[in-house]
């Protein structure tokens, strides 16, 4: 029923690659045991090996060692663990101040808000109208009581990339931990922890044609609770001693194996192909009158296009496109579960109107070149139709 859908919402979820499923299958039906220690039964040892291999492979894609990478259930858990885990570890001894940006994705945004209720102070560092962080403001905002800076590597809606090296360098100079949510950039936009001074990195499989429900957190030198000199981060779920004691629970081995395979399948060639499509998409969308690009023109995710059409509302546009077989996303309040306009669009200084008519197109492996022309044509048509019935923009 959905075979004719042209899917441009890969920032929300991606179609699983069959090769990922093939890699995962044995761990459902044959090697389904829990990962036991090396002294366990062979089924469990083999499961352990598979988990270790997956961990090593994903860690390597970040330039990290295996013991620096912890599997979680996805980016929401990873970012919660990063913020709340550091707050638990350092809140008493070092301070209760956290710095983040106003355009973070919900896990960071709401973890910070939850910590505020626990008495932590949260500073939103300023961003410009493309979503780039004001580095001077960041530097000024760091105080002796600051324990963590959490600023995303790439924005989920407008695709803006941050200069994580510059941010990390400032944090390092000031002796503050730096967490970045790289859910939307990893591994298409390289981030090597040997070059970027970052302590915690959130990643996920669901954005890269891997399975849902598996993600991870890079922890520099591993969590301090398992290793001297590690990153001060405390667990907040109690259970077994899995994942270096930081994240208890039966390991999701099929997920881990699928995640590793998904990472392996992302190539620079493919990313370049998506970027080419993205450029053509944006160029052609901007030919529609009264349309503007949201986010940074150059420093942006290779798979993200986001534009605002004036005088039309995003949910209406989205529904019309759905009827024509295209799936996209919008920052309009009418589309959100809280009936609030996108905090990202408002956070970069946009008004409700810009959020109202904003449409996000996120490309993935299964998009074809001809999809670009087709979606632009459909969008131009629908925008014209909605403008015809709009009270605005008539002159």
């Amino acid at each position: 029923m959905f075979e004719n859908v042209v899917y441009f919402d890969n920032g929300a979820a991606t179609r699983l690659d069959e090769r990922v499923l093939e890699a995962m299958k044995p761990y459902f039906f044959d090697l389904y045991a829990v990962a036991t220690s090396q002294f366990g039964y062979s089924l469990g040892v083999d499961a352990r090996d598979a988990l270790d291999d997956a961990r090593a492979q994903i860690a390597a894609a970040l330039g990290a060692s295996p013991e620096e990478f912890v599997f979680t259930s996805g980016s929401t858990e990873s970012s919660n663990l990063a913020l709340k885990g550091v707050a638990l570890a350092l809140g008493e001894e070092k301070g209760r101040h956290i710095i983040t940006s106003p355009i973070e994705d919900f896990p960071v945004l709401y973890s910070a808000r939850a910590l505020e209720k626990q008495g932590f102070r949260v500073t939103d560092v300023r961003v410009d109208d493309t979503g780039r962080v004001d580095l001077d403001h960041l530097r000024e905002s760091i105080t002796p009581g600051t324990i963590l800076v959490s600023i995303q590597a790439a924005n989920q809606e407008i695709g803006t990339l941050q200069d994580v090296t510059a941010i990390g360098t400032i944090c390092r100079e000031k002796g503050v931990l730096f967490h970045t949510d790289a859910t939307h950039s990893f591994p298409r936009v390289p981030l090597d922890v040997r070059e970027v001074p970052v302590d915690l990195v959130t990643i996920s499989a669901h954005t890269i044609h891997g399975p849902k429900g598996i993600g991870g957190l890079y922890v520099r030198e591993g969590p301090a609770l398992s290793k001297a000199g590690g990153t001060p981060i405390r667990k907040w779920m109690d259970g077994g001693f899995q994942e270096f004691g930081l994240r208890p629970g039966v390991e999701n081995i099929p997920g881990a194996v699928g995640f590793a395979r998904a990472v392996e399948l992302i190539t620079p060639e493919e990313t370049a192909r998506l970027q080419g499509m993205r450029d053509r998409l944006i160029e052609r969308l901007l030919e529609i009158p009264h349309t503007r690009l949201n986010g940074h023109p150059v420093q942006r995710l290779p798979q993200n296009g986001n534009v605002s059409f004036r005088f039309v509302e995003g949910e209406a546009l989205l529904l019309h496109l759905d009827m024509r077989g295209f799936a996209v996303s919008t920052g309009s309040a009418c589309f959100s579960r809280s009936l609030e306009a996108s905090h990202v669009m408002l956070g970069i200084g946009g008004d409700h109107e810009r959020a109202h008519g904003s449409v996000r197109f996120t490309l993935g492996r299964f998009n074809e070149e001809e999809d670009v022309g087709a979606v632009v044509e459909a969008v131009a048509d629908v925008v014209a139709e909605l403008r015809r019935i709009s009270p605005l923009g008539k002159e």
């Binding site: 209406a316 529904l319 009827m323 009418c334 306009a341 409700h352 009270p391 605005l392």
Partner: protein, 211 residues
């Protein structure tokens, strides 16, 4: 199609009736604004003899529910007397559309408000308005009946979310029985302000939440 909209809603969304402006309209209203989201414009042509709506058109800068409701109210109001048209409620429009998802009520109420405001505009222009009434708790409560609780698809008053109303010297204070960090708190806050602020003798609207 696995959408939460009825076939009638989709039909009106796809092919909205009575779209556009009326030249030399007898009355016009614009509800909402681009700054706060949806916006609806309603134009009326009224037969002065019978006080019936001879022609009605609308324009929408809004989502599917907003467009569909705008379309259906023009059909419901056409040919009716002003008094009859005034009594068209959101509920009647929603029923005529085969129902609307609760979360979408706020977008659709705007279209109904648009019709009422256009009629009011006509009455004002033609000297049919009574004296200005001072804002009282009862007036505020009546207005709050037009603010939807997105969880229920019914208004705040009927769903008993209004804990307290206070009116004193141009200041209106409303207490809503929800936690301040509730999913819909910001939305409800904005909607209340939008409904109460335009009252002629209100200078300040304060919305508080119970937790």
């Amino acid at each position: 199609m696995p959408l939460p909209y009825s076939e009638i809603v989709m039909e009106h969304f796809r092919h909205p009736r009575n779209v556009g402006q009326i030249e030399n309209a007898d009355a016009k209203s614009v509800e909402g604004s681009p700054a706060c989201g949806d916006m609806v414009a309603v134009y009326l042509k009224v037969d002065p003899e019978s006080q019936r709506i001879a022609d009605i058109k609308f324009e929408s800068y809004g989502c599917a529910s907003n467009i569909a409701t705008g379309s259906i109210i023009t059909e419901l109001a056409k040919g009716k007397t002003l008094e009859e048209a005034k009594s068209i409620t959101w509920k009647r429009a929603a029923d005529a559309l085969g129902g609307l998802p609760p979360i979408k009520t706020h977008c659709s109420v705007l279209a109904v408000d648009g019709l009422r405001a256009a009629i009011q505009n006509y009455e004002e222009r033609h000297g049919l308005v009574k004296e200005r009434v001072p804002t009282t708790v009862a007036v505020v409560r009546k207005r709050l009946k037009r603010v939807m609780n997105p969880m229920a698809g019914l208004d705040l008053v009927r769903t008993k979310l209004v804990e307290e109303i206070e009116v004193a010297e141009g200041k209106v204070r409303v207490v809503i029985d929800l936690p301040a960090d509730h999913q819909f708190a910001a939305n409800i806050h904005e909607e209340i302000t939008e409904k109460i602020e335009p009252l002629w003798d209100v200078e300040q609207v304060v919305v508080e939440f119970t937790e």
